[in-house]
């Protein structure tokens, strides 16, 4: 035979005592209870629920991640930009250096190369043997680029070479071919 039990103390949860011990004996100050409850409730009203807190934290984290990523991308792009700029400058410099390379070709088409790559002010002298001529090449920083070719008697047979390149305008190369 199956039996069921009911706890009397739990059963009496549904009972309302309107007869015994009502409004008596308690020395508890109701105003203090009220104060405490209202203070807690008022505090709780403005409190954010845990779920909302988590969502806000997640959103903040996502935003932060986004910012960091954006910054990283921006940084990378800037780096690329700087690298690209540097490369462009390097390229330009190389190009300029190429432009600054002056080639002197002799009568047979042999290249006698005189190079001023990075715009440094250099002066050098070298001796070349060109058909009995000793070519003394002097480079200085004077305003005009002049080439002088003199014959056996010392007469100038070829006048000058004015450098029309803008970026080499600050250079003056004087080539002096002296009779050996």
């Amino acid at each position: 035979m199956e039996s069921k039990t009911v706890k009397i103390s739990e059963l009496l949860d549904d009972y309302t005592d309107n007869e015994f011990f009502i409004d008596e004996e308690s020395e508890v100050n109701i105003d203090k209870i009220k104060e405490k409850v209202i203070a807690k409730v008022s505090g709780k009203k403005t409190k954010i629920k845990p779920v909302a807190k988590i969502m806000i934290a997640a959103a903040a984290a996502a935003a932060l991640t986004g910012m960091v990523s954006a910054a990283a991308v921006h940084g990378t792009m800037e780096t690329y930009s700087v690298i690209a700029e540097e490369k462009a400058v390097q390229h330009k410099t190389d190009a300029s250096a190429d432009d600054l390379t002056e080639k002197l070709v002799d009568e047979d088409g042999n290249v006698i190369e005189v190079q001023e790559a990075d715009g440094d002010k250099t002066q050098y002298e070298e001796t070349l043997e060109i058909d009995g001529y000793d070519a003394g090449i002097v480079t200085d920083d004077s305003a005009d680029v002049t080439e002088k070719l003199t014959d056996e008697d010392g007469n100038v047979i070829e006048a000058q070479k004015a450098d029309s390149e803008a970026d080499s305008s600050d250079k003056t190369d004087t080539f002096r071919f002296e009779n050996e």
């Binding site: 035979m1 039996s3 706890k7 009397i8 103390s9 009972y15 309302t16 109701i30 009203k45």
Partner: protein
């Protein structure tokens, strides 16, 4: 302001309604707790505040009907839980009514609202037995304590409690108390 107004105010989140609830039932709640805790004003104040905070937290589910009963039950639970933490077991004499298989109150008569039924059953007890019954089972007083308060001997008090349990069971069966889903399984 009626209980209905207070409950509606609470549901709208008005703290003014909570204040009115405390004004109206604060004394009752603290009296129930105080009786169970045998004074101890500090604990009583703490638990009373907890009851009203619980009401606030669960205000969506609150019903105006039997608001006082709801508060009383909440107060009892808080106080008993406090005692259980201290004593492990409440000193209640045979805290149960046994319904045998043949006794199917939910089949016998139409279901009625539990609170109404339990109140009617307790109020159907003989006055001295009812007070003894409530002191012991509702307020958690020991049999000796309750007997002493009513000027009864311990054995006389136990006999009355036993009689009270039988009467309560008989009333519940007669009134059609539904003592849980399990009891209606064989419907």
């Amino acid at each position: 302001m009626t209980d209905n107004d207070i409950v509606n105010g609470l549901k709208k989140g008005k703290t003014k309604a909570l204040e009115q609830l405390i004004d109206r039932y604060g004394k009752y709640v603290s009296s129930v707790i105080s009786r169970i805790l045998r004074g101890r004003n500090e604990d009583c104040r703490e638990l009373s505040a907890d009851v009203f905070l619980a009401v606030w937290e669960n205000r969506e589910k609150l019903r105006a009907e039997n608001l006082k009963g709801y508060l009383g039950a909440a107060a009892r639970n808080k106080a008993f839980n406090k005692l259980r933490n201290e004593w492990e077991e409440l000193p209640l004499e045979e805290d149960m009514i046994i319904f045998d298989d043949g006794e199917q109150p939910c089949e016998a008569v139409e279901r009625k609202e539990t609170a109404l039924l339990v109140n009617r059953a307790v109020n159907g007890l003989e006055p001295i037995t009812k007070e003894l019954f409530l002191r012991h089972y509702y307020y958690g007083q020991s049999v000796a304590e309750a007997a002493d308060a009513l000027g009864l001997s311990l054995s006389a008090a136990k006999t009355r409690l036993c009689r009270g349990r039988q009467t309560l069971k008989a009333i519940l069966l007669k009134e059609g108390y539904d003592h849980g889903e399990q009891n209606c399984e064989n419907k």
